[in-house]
Symmetry: C2
């Protein structure tokens, strides 16, 4: 299963850190790529490149100025589009169906105002909860459930954490 995350409507300065969190969480929870639309943000791209350089893996981040075009291109290539929104149907009831359908999935998270068209373009409009919460929270729980709670803790980077109950231990991987 190949999973990408597309974040719509990135605005500076307000979304700078939130979008960084969206993509760090995407990477840490099993997504292979990130895409963002809205305002271009070199700082965001640098943060992610730095994280991947240090912590490993192959997560890539691309800027897509025209979100709808990007979405349509993916749809043509057989990607399934899953839009996470507090207005959608409960995600849990669809998880099994989604795991067994198309092998390429693009998960969309919006900003404050989501274009109405998205609800039509998406294969699924799903919610983790229908209460106001956070796209980072929704995405995290969705990916966590999608991959059945399996989390990879070592991406073979230059550094990794040695889990500890009492302190911060960062170790260098042997190369």
């Amino acid at each position: 299963m190949e999973v990408g995350v597309h974040r719509l409507g990135h605005r500076l300065p307000r979304d700078g850190r939130l979008t960084t969190h969206v993509f760090l969480a995407s990477r840490a929870l099993g997504a292979k790529e990130g895409i963002y639309s809205g305002q271009r943000d070199p700082g965001l791209e640098e943060s992610l490149a730095k994280a991947v350089g240090e912590w490993g893996g192959t997560f890539s981040l691309a800027y897509a100025p025209h979100w709808k075009q990007t979405l349509n291109e993916r749809i043509e290539k057989g990607w399934e589009i899953i839009h996470l929104t507090m207005y959608g149907l409960p995600h849990k009831a669809r998880l099994e169906e989604i795991r067994e359908s198309s092998s390429k999935k693009l998960v969309i998270v919006g900003g404050e105002k989501v274009p109405g068209d998205l609800f039509k373009l998406a294969d699924y409009n799903l919610s983790v909860t229908n209460q106001p919460h956070s796209e980072v929270a929704a995405l995290a729980i969705f990916l966590y459930d999608l991959f059945e709670g399996k989390v990879t803790d070592d991406y073979g980077g230059r550094i990794r954490v040695e889990p500890s109950m009492r302190r911060k231990i960062v170790v260098r991987n042997r190369t």
Copy 2:
């Protein structure tokens, strides 16, 4: 089980929206109260009060200028302290133990720099993943797992969402 979330080191303007997301997610995923330390932020308090006023429930938010004092007070009153950190031990292995221990739990999420003392004060230092991610993501997954994936979608507020696959439907609750 009574769960509170304490966010340390809130800084303006950089943490404004992230901390809002921390507490909206806390509320939506079953926590009863929020506490924050660092810089006082009236905008944050207003956002949360507005969300509770419209969407219901009893989630409260308090400012605690001295985080360690607040933590020690809670510890004296029998609260269990669970610090979420990418350096900690995997949370899953401790979930059952935590569910069955003290009925009052304070979940701590840090900012960029977490005071070393916290690792000693906490009963648990736990990670959702040891890769860099997001305190919002870690908190969301931890609460979701703690409450065994049960999510309340209606808090009896003035408004609520009618879940839909194709559009945004917000309805007024009858009073």
